[in-house]
């Protein structure tokens, strides 16, 4: 079931009403969330449920076993490692088996050995990378004593399978999400209203921005060999916003939906295209994954405490892993390496934490210098997205080379409407850049006592709702489901 579907339009209100009106006790609420989440996930393919059930049971059991062996660190380490290996094996089999097999066979053939890999027909379970990482975070946190192992089975199942963020994140930490399932929740009108606004904003980003861009992007990437540089640049530009609208739109809908159920999820995007350098971009893009890699890979490897070379090595590892996490294709690895390459100069010069605040804070417009910085960062990110979108590295190279060599001044042939919508998005995001989402108004603006503000607020909601309905594009699936 996907968020922008008719099924979800029925599913959400039913679950919401039953959750608050019928299942009022905490235990029942958690059990109901698990049941609803399994229906939501099983809607794709009921066989996926076996895997998530297995992952949940293993992680739950490993948490309890780690706690039972308190004081025996080596045993705890073995249990934790076993759970990590098991989860990664499942992930590896379903996501990377064919990739490794094909590349290994290719390698052997390079050495003159006869090798042929028959591609296995493996169905990739939707969102497996997301819930696997979430489950791993629990075991590792229990091992590091950041969290007590829970005995509350419904709460743990709800933590792993919570439907709003199950298939495309945000990848939650056990320390943040699990405790929320252990305490009783009550309906908060303001949070729910804000959640609905965030859902609306997410739908706008997904259905208006991403889905409209998708049509033009698919056309341009399919026919790139016969198109001019301006059109290819437009294709890359549109994909830059397609992937942002698609993924951040999903995150907004997920966070908003969770708020309807009294659950607060972590922020996943923070206006990344207003970043002034690549380091800032990575602090604002897919925050839950970036911080996951920081907490569970970068810091355990030594972080930045063992000299510049080791720090550079650790940085390269997380960028490559991040790329590879996105999919079994060398394009993703190259994309990760490309971003690492952009990050290193900042790191060597010690400027990787220069921009930690929001751009042009307290001002209406950015300075010329800030504008230039944002434009350059955006351009660098855009080139990275071409590699990310391409089917193979050769296509990415051809696309970029054609984009540069065939650059003649002309108007873009595709995506004119999308550019109009993107302009509206940039405008809204710019004026709301210090807020959590585009439809979050200032507290005084939210005041129910001012009738004028109320009318204005509802007019904005109505306009965005109409915009979403009228200008929705045709593509339905979320890109990040495949990751």
């Amino acid at each position: 079931m996907i968020f922008n579907s008719f099924e979800f339009l029925l599913f959400l209100p039913i679950v919401f009403i039953l959750y608050w009106y019928v299942f009022k006790a905490l235990k029942w609420q958690n059990l109901f969330i698990v049941a609803a989440s399994y229906v939501f996930y099983g809607w794709w393919d009921w066989r996926f449920l076996i895997l998530i059930f297995l992952t949940t049971c293993c992680s739950y059991a490993s948490g309890l076993m780690i706690e039972r062996h308190e004081g025996q660190r080596h045993k705890q380490k073995a249990i934790c490692a076993a759970n990590i290996i098991l989860n990664l094996l499942i992930l590896g089999y379903f996501k990377y088996c064919n990739f490794f097999g094909e590349n290994f066979a290719l390698l052997l053939r390079r050495f003159g050995l006869q090798a042929h890999w028959t591609t296995l027909d493996i169905l990739l379970p939707v969102g497996i990378s997301f819930y696997t990482f979430q489950a791993l975070s629990y075991t590792i946190d229990v091992y590091h004593h950041k969290l007590q192992a829970t005995r509350n089975l419904p709460a743990f199942f709800a933590f792993i399978s919570f439907f709003p963020q199950l298939v495309a994140g945000p990848i939650e930490r056990a320390t943040h999400l699990l405790p929320q399932f252990l305490v009783s929740r009550s309906f908060d009108y303001n949070k729910a209203t804000d959640g609905m606004c965030q859902i609306l904003w997410g739908l706008f980003k997904k259905m208006v921005i991403a889905d409209n861009c998708a049509t033009a992007v698919n056309q341009i990437f399919n026919e790139y060999q016969s198109l001019n540089g301006v059109t290819l640049f437009t294709g890359a530009f549109l994909f830059t916003f397609q992937i942002y609208g698609d993924f951040s739109g999903y995150s907004d809908i997920a966070i908003g939906t969770a708020r309807l159920f009294g659950i607060q999820l972590m922020r996943n995007f923070n206006v990344p295209y207003f970043s002034r350098d690549i380091a800032e971009f990575w602090r604002r893009w897919h925050i839950s994954l970036t911080t996951w890699f920081r907490d569970y890979i970068y810091i355990p490897l030594g972080g930045s405490h063992h000299g510049k070379w080791k720090t550079a090595r650790n940085t390269l590892i997380i960028f490559l892993t991040s790329g590879f996490w996105h999919g079994a294709n060398w394009t993703f690895v190259l994309w990760g390496a490309y971003h690492a390459m952009l990050f290193f100069p900042l790191f060597i010069l010690g400027r990787n934490r220069k921009h930690t605040d929001i751009v042009a804070h307290g001002k209406r417009l950015p300075s010329l210098r800030e504008s230039m910085q944002m434009a350059i960062t955006f351009l660098l990110v855009l080139i990275g997205w071409i590699v990310f979108r391409a089917e193979h590295i050769g296509q990415a190279c051809n696309y970029i080379s054609r984009m540069v060599t065939q650059l003649h001044p002309c108007l873009p042939e595709y995506g004119k409407k999308s550019i109009l919508f993107i302009t509206a998005l940039i405008f809204m995001e710019w004026i709301q850049r210090d807020k959590e989402h585009g439809l979050q108004f200032a507290p005084n603006f939210l005041s129910p006592h001012s009738r004028r503000n109320q009318v204005l607020r509802w007019s904005v909601y109505l306009c965005v709702s109409l915009f979403v309905l009228i200008f929705a594009g045709t593509q339905a699936e979320f890109i990040y489901f495949q990751f």
Partner: protein, 355 residues
């Protein structure tokens, strides 16, 4: 808590209702675009209302609109021709129900539905059917069932979006003004084919329930008209990809005693004949398809007494088409890979004649 919860639900509901009302208001206030492709439907309806019987009416989706030269057929068969084909997205159910209101005694109805109609598209796509009904000023709402009405409701927002933000037209833009007096989309005859045409697979599962409905409607029409069913024109690559699905449609119709007049492979044309989709042919493709239809109808139809009796060159069915400049004749190109349905013998063609 319950008070807040109820208040929240009421407000969400109010927003939903207001949005729906705003949509209806926009639909009413914004004028329909006169150059919209689906406006051609009104022109076709006028032809159906004004041209007296006996006449040949072609019914189907855009495969007919884009791939037929009705003038040639009219000259060959000496009967007025109306090309009702417009858009597969309006759904085969609507087409059958609509044409039943126009059919007169003595008419010759030739159905060429797209294969996708038997795989879930029978009730139409929301965007097309909404556009069609809006173009015809909602006069034909009574023809719709509940599923079609849902489709119309779902298509309303997109229809409004087209009125609010119309595309900038170019020479390839589909438009009502591109149709000739027979109902053929004739403007594209002068244009070159698109360089890249996607080879789509037919999605969905075969809907035998709708198939039965379609057959029963055909039987009703047979009470007063001659009715023939022909396969749509189809691009070779798509045919190869969707062979099993095409076969299933042909088999179903055969079993229902309502077979195609000829085997589907007769209407499969080389990729070079396609204009911009698997069902839309360029000028060369139009010529081949039209020639084949003329031959097939000459064999099949009972010509009314007042028109000149044509000779039936049955052997023509086996000879390559003469007027294909850019296209390679199909004979010998795909036949080896599609043996299952490649029997185009005159005997078979006659055997498939049904009325």
């Amino acid at each position: 808590m319950n008070t807040f919860l109820t208040r929240f639900l009421i407000r969400v509901l109010l927003l939903g209702i207001t949005t729906a009302l705003s949509l209806i208001t926009l639909q009413v206030l914004l004028p329909e675009r006169q150059d919209d492709y689906l406006q051609a439907y009104n022109q076709k309806c006028r032809l159906l209302e004004t041209i007296p019987s006996p006449r040949i009416i072609f019914i189907g989706g855009s495969n007919l609109a884009f791939s037929l030269d009705s003038h040639r057929i009219q000259d060959s068969l000496h009967l007025p021709v109306i090309n009702y084909g417009l858009h597969a997205g309006i759904g085969l159910k609507y087409m059958v129900d609509d044409i039943a209101t126009y059919a007169q005694k003595g008419d010759i109805l030739v159905f060429a539905p797209e294969y996708s109609h038997f795989y879930g598209a029978m009730y139409g796509e929301s965007v097309a059917i909404t556009g069609l009904l809006a173009a015809s000023h909602w006069k034909k709402l009574h023809l719709l069932n509940i599923r079609q009405i849902i489709n119309v409701i779902c298509g309303l927002p997109h229809h409004i979006s087209v009125k609010l933000l119309p595309s900038i037209p170019n020479e390839r833009t589909y438009s009502a003004s591109n149709f000739n007096e027979y109902g053929d989309e004739a403007k594209h005859w002068e244009l070159s084919s698109m360089p890249y045409i996607k080879t789509n697979s037919i999605k969905g599962t075969f809907d035998s329930e709708f198939g039965n409905y379609f057959v029963s409607q055909i039987r009703n029409l047979q009470q007063k008209c001659q009715v023939y069913l022909i396969p749509p024109v189809y691009r070779e690559s798509n045919f190869k990809l969707n062979r099993e699905k095409v076969k299933k449609v042909a088999d179903f119709l055969q079993e229902a005693q309502c077979p195609y007049l000829v085997t589907p492979v007769r209407h499969v044309l080389p990729d070079s004949c396609a204009y911009d989709t698997e069902y839309h042919m360029n000028r060369s493709g139009v010529d081949i398809y039209t020639s084949r239809i003329i031959e097939e109808l000459k064999q099949a139809i009972r010509i009314p007494a007042q028109t000149q009796e044509p000779d039936f060159p049955i052997k023509v069915l086996h000879t390559p088409m003469q007027n294909s400049d850019a296209c390679t004749p199909l004979t010998g190109t795909v036949s080896s890979s599609i043996q299952w349905i490649c029997d185009c013998s005159p005997e078979n063609a006659n055997g498939r004649r049904w009325e």
